[in-house]
């Protein structure tokens, strides 16, 4: 298969005869002679990594990953395991999609550009904002980019980024790293029963807040009822109103444009990716007013030499490869292929399917909360709010012990503090939820 080659990369196709012919053409007698590396920094050791056949490599990875327990996950908090239609895998795995790169030559990349243009359009519909980029890394980094956008737009003299006290810890930490190079400081606002404390926020917005961030749903799955008020408060105080959400929740809940959101960020890979240990797709949408300050890549329509509509990356003077240290972001490689998958998944669901999915996330979370609330020693939901997808339950006894016992029964749940569990219905079937309720009833008995 590999000619007379005896060793080497299975993906370097050279036969020994070809190698010799090529060396001759270059005018050297060995591959080593091509390297201009001073002797003191040459590496003559080895890594101690054995080469393997494809089959042995596959067995190795299988044997490692088999150590992951097969659990039913009632886990969420920003990463969800919705069922992914087969169509998404098969179409996105077409090798032209998978093996192309950033569309620097748009004439030969129309297919991928169109798919990204369609992705952007779907997010424009769901957010009601005029501009969506074609991806950031994930929700946490998109939040960080929103803060640097607020820093550039700066219409107030202050430097405070105001975020909910209930916020995923890694999101908060990532935001901290993104603003470390600015004079922005991150402060939190309190929450009342799992939703923004509007009075406290009204008091806090005294002219030094550049950005107000809220989530819908919140990290605890509650639907935020005060968004319009937050939008008004942000407008009055000239703060950028940034809203965190995702394409499923956006299909049902209040449209961000209708509540005054200036920027929407979030994880769009709730559609398109299965649970993937937190791998995501950063959603970033904003108003047309801020177009020149948008981070990341944008696909636009134009015309080609035959005067037909064609697509291209545009407004690239915002980007690092043109603008260098004055770019709107340092992002280059993004999550384009995940955006393709998200678009295919959204298209496969269609408008009815999307709204149905979100609706079932509300009704199934409510039903599960009612069922676990009926168990002795369990109160759910803890917050007297409407929920989507997930909710918090309080348990008598140590939450960590109950979670460990549930794991022995084959179920994974979040623990929050001493006595709270968070339960998510997004990825679980009805049968699995039945099994979970049975398991929980045994565990808390």
């Amino acid at each position: 298969m590999y000619g007379s080659r005896t060793t080497g990369s299975p993906y370097a196709p050279h036969t020994d005869t070809e190698t010799v012919a090529m060396l001759d053409a270059v005018g050297v007698d060995s591959e080593e002679a091509l390297f201009d590396i001073p002797e003191p920094v040459q590496f003559d050791g080895d890594f101690g990594i054995d080469a393997r056949s494809e089959r042995a490599t596959r067995q190795l990875v299988e044997s490692i990953l088999e150590r992951n327990d097969d659990l039913v996950e009632l886990l969420g908090r920003g990463h969800y395991g919705y069922y992914i239609p087969s169509l998404v895998d098969h179409l996105s795995d077409r090798s032209e999609f998978l093996t192309s790169y950033t569309q620097y030559q748009p004439e030969v990349s129309q297919g991928f550009l169109q798919a990204l243009f369609e992705y952007q359009s779907m997010l424009v519909e769901l957010t009601g904002l005029e501009v969506a980029n074609c991806s950031m890394y994930d929700a946490a980094t998109a939040l960080g980019e929103a803060a640097t956008l607020a820093d550039r737009l700066r219409s107030v003299s202050g430097s405070v980024v105001l975020v909910p006290e209930l916020l995923a810890a890694n999101k908060r930490s990532t935001l901290g790293n993104y603003v470390a190079g600015t004079d922005l400081t991150v402060e939190t606002y309190p929450m009342v029963d799992g939703a923004a404390d509007l009075d406290a926020i009204a008091d806090r917005l005294d002219g030094d807040v550049v950005m107000l961030y809220a989530e819908n749903p919140t990290v605890r799955g509650t639907i935020e009822p005060g968004l319009s008020t937050l939008g008004d408060l942000a407008t009055e105080s000239d703060s950028l109103f940034v809203l965190g959400s995702d394409p499923v929740a956006l299909s049902l809940l209040e449209r961000p444009a209708d509540v005054g959101a200036d920027v929407v960020i979030g994880d769009a890979s709730v559609l398109g990716l299965p649970t993937a240990y937190g791998m995501g797709l950063g959603l970033f949408a904003t108003r047309e007013d801020y177009l020149r300050q948008v981070p990341g890549r944008l696909v636009g329509a134009s015309e080609d030499g035959d005067d037909r509509r064609a697509y291209t990356l545009t407004l690239q003077t915002r980007e690092q490869h043109i603008r260098r240290e004055r770019a709107t972001s340092n992002i280059c490689t993004n999550q384009a292929w995940v955006a393709l998958r998200t678009a295919i998944h959204a298209a496969a669901l269609g408008p009815d399917g999307l709204v149905d999915l979100a609706t079932r996330d509300v009704t199934r979370a409510r039903e599960l909360a009612e069922r676990v609330d009926d168990l002795p020693g369990v109160t759910a939901p803890v917050h007297d709010r409407h929920h989507v997808r997930e909710f918090v339950a309080r348990v008598d006894g140590a939450a960590s012990t109950i979670a460990a016992d549930l794991e022995d029964h084959g179920y994974a749940v979040h623990t929050l503090g001493e006595d709270e569990l968070q339960l998510c219905v997004a990825g679980a079937t009805d049968d699995e939820l039945d099994g979970f309720v049975d398991a929980l009833s045994e565990v808390v008995r």
Partner: protein, 506 residues
């Protein structure tokens, strides 16, 4: 298999679906359905829900055709040569997709450590692989792309200097020919960027470096070989100079494919580096991403790395054993127990979870498949291919000796036009007009995956275009899905969604 005839011309007429004078219609032109949202069905009050959603409503078979056609209107590595300089467009082994799709890979990041030993073991082994390959002591896998890796490097440098009471260091030095991300990353980290000119040979100008270095230097960011494909021969001196003023030396891993198994950044004196696994370790570029940009550091910087990292549960030191000293990462089965830990002075996180996990699985599989011999052969053949291709093209290559890539000059021709015309010869063109040190640059990186005969085809494409007149190349491309696209119109009149299209466009 080999073709010695020299007549290696390929042609490719790209698919071009069209309907009524429009290329493949948008999903929204195939269907647009507005549905009312029923708050009652969810048991929600009206004020918590939106009124309606308008999106395409198409059948599975219609979608299958839509996206199949779009894929046909996209050129990938499996279509033909893709010598995009600085991007390392290697063939992506198909089996790595299979292992990333294993059911065991689909786990939630908030699962207990005890129930995710497989994931932790794979991450731990990959930390070890990368540490050995880069000559580094500790590795984080969290950064989701190369630029994110750079950002970790800069944040780690900042934390390190602050820890040592040297917060006054506010400058990062970047060579003029560096990747744009280096400048942007340093700026994102709050640093003043000091730009460094090249010397006549195309390498770091030591006198200019001496002038740029000061007690305010936080770091020098370098790639080696540099963007001209040249090895920075004075790297040891450079490292000494940077370290003498108390700065750190950062390695941009974009060009690591040139050095696999032959030289290691850690041995050259670099303190911190990122790896581009989608370049060096063949994970697919996916139309722009996802990639992954793990970061390796020397032991002195390990306490500042992002949290969490993975270690063996019985590790003795607080920071775990150095990955490079850890157990043989090639052992096929292990009963070791792994755990997550936060480095002592961690900068925190740079991603909501643990980065692009599925990409990391593919990178692990690629490295395990190639092993020492395959990795060393990859760099050998990547450098051989670039040099062979360089020897076969008529355009001048002003700087050498180059390694995995070269930058040719299109001379009197416009490099962007040359690229458009090359599309008509069935190949993807090189990166153009960068680095600016070469006039009308054609930055070319064929990688190790091309055969002699495809390199001959590539050379034939370069040489055919070199002979053509301006009118011909300005009229190109002709065989692609779209003809030359008007960039000015796209930027002057931004239409970024189907909602923004004028009636004329529809």
């Amino acid at each position: 298999m080999s073709d010695d005839s020299g007549s290696a011309e390929i042609r490719h007429d790209q698919a071009r679906w069209s309907t009524n004078g429009t290329y493949e219609p948008l999903l929204s032109e195939k269907d647009s359905t507005e549905i009312a949202v029923d708050a009652d069905a969810a048991g929600l009050p009206d004020e918590l829900t939106r009124d309606s959603v308008e999106l395409p409503n198409l059948s599975e078979s219609e979608l299958a055709r839509h996206y199949t056609r779009l894929s046909q209107q996209t050129y990938g590595i499996t279509s033909g040569p893709y010598p995009l300089g600085s991007c390392t467009m290697k063939y992506n082994p198909t089996f790595t997709e299979d292992v990333a799709a294993l059911p065991g890979a689909a786990v939630h990041p908030d699962r207990s450590e005890g129930s995710t030993q497989g994931t932790l073991e794979l991450l731990y082994r990959l930390q070890g692989y990368l540490a050995r390959i880069g000559g580094m002591d500790a590795v984080t896998l969290q950064p989701p792309a190369g630029a994110a890796g750079e950002f970790v490097g800069i944040r780690v440098a900042a934390a390190y200097h602050e820890h040592n009471g040297e917060s006054h260091r506010d400058e990062v030095i970047v060579p003029e020919s560096a990747h744009g991300t280096n400048f942007a990353t340093a700026a994102l980290g709050g640093y003043d960027v000091v730009s460094l000119p090249s010397d006549e040979s195309g390498r770091v100008d030591l006198e200019a470096l001496e002038a740029a270095l000061s007690e305010n230097t936080a770091a020098l960011m370098l790639t080696n070989p540099n963007t001209l494909g040249l090895f920075e021969r004075d790297i040891q001196t450079i490292a000494e100079m940077v370290h003498d003023v108390g700065g750190l030396l950062y390695y941009d891993g974009a060009n690591l494919n040139a050095l696999l198994g032959r030289a290691r950044p850690g041995d050259m004196g670099f303190d911190v580096m990122h790896y581009n696994v989608h370049k060096t370790f063949a994970t697919p570029h996916g139309g722009g991403g996802p990639g992954a940009g793990p970061v390796g550091v020397v032991s002195e910087l390990a306490p500042f790395l992002p949290a969490p990292r993975v270690r063996e549960a019985d590790a003795e030191s607080a920071d775990g054993p150095r990955e490079a000293d850890g157990p043989d990462p090639t052992t096929d089965s292990t009963d070791a127990i792994y755990e997550l830990f936060d480095p002592e002075h961690t900068i925190g996180t740079v991603h909501g979870f643990q980065g692009n996990w599925l990409v990391l699985v593919k990178a692990f599989a690629y490295i395990a498949r190639l092993g020492d011999e395959g990795l060393a052969d990859a760099s050998a053949k990547a450098v051989l291919n670039a040099n062979y291709l360089g020897s076969q093209i008529d355009y001048e290559i002003p700087y050498g000796p180059f390694h995995h890539e070269f930058v040719a000059s299109a001379g009197e021709q416009d490099a962007a036009d040359v690229a458009k015309r090359m599309l008509d010869y069935g190949v993807h063109p090189p990166t153009t007009k960068w680095p600016e040190i070469v006039s009308q640059a054609l930055m070319t990186e064929p990688t190790e995956v091309e055969t002699k005969s495809t390199l001959d085809q590539l050379a034939a494409a370069f040489n055919a275009v070199a002979e053509e007149d301006d009118a011909t190349i300005e009229a190109a491309p002709n065989r692609t899905t779209a003809k030359r696209i008007d960039q000015t119109s796209a930027a002057r009149n931004p239409r970024l969604s189907w909602q923004a299209l004028d009636a004329d466009d529809e």
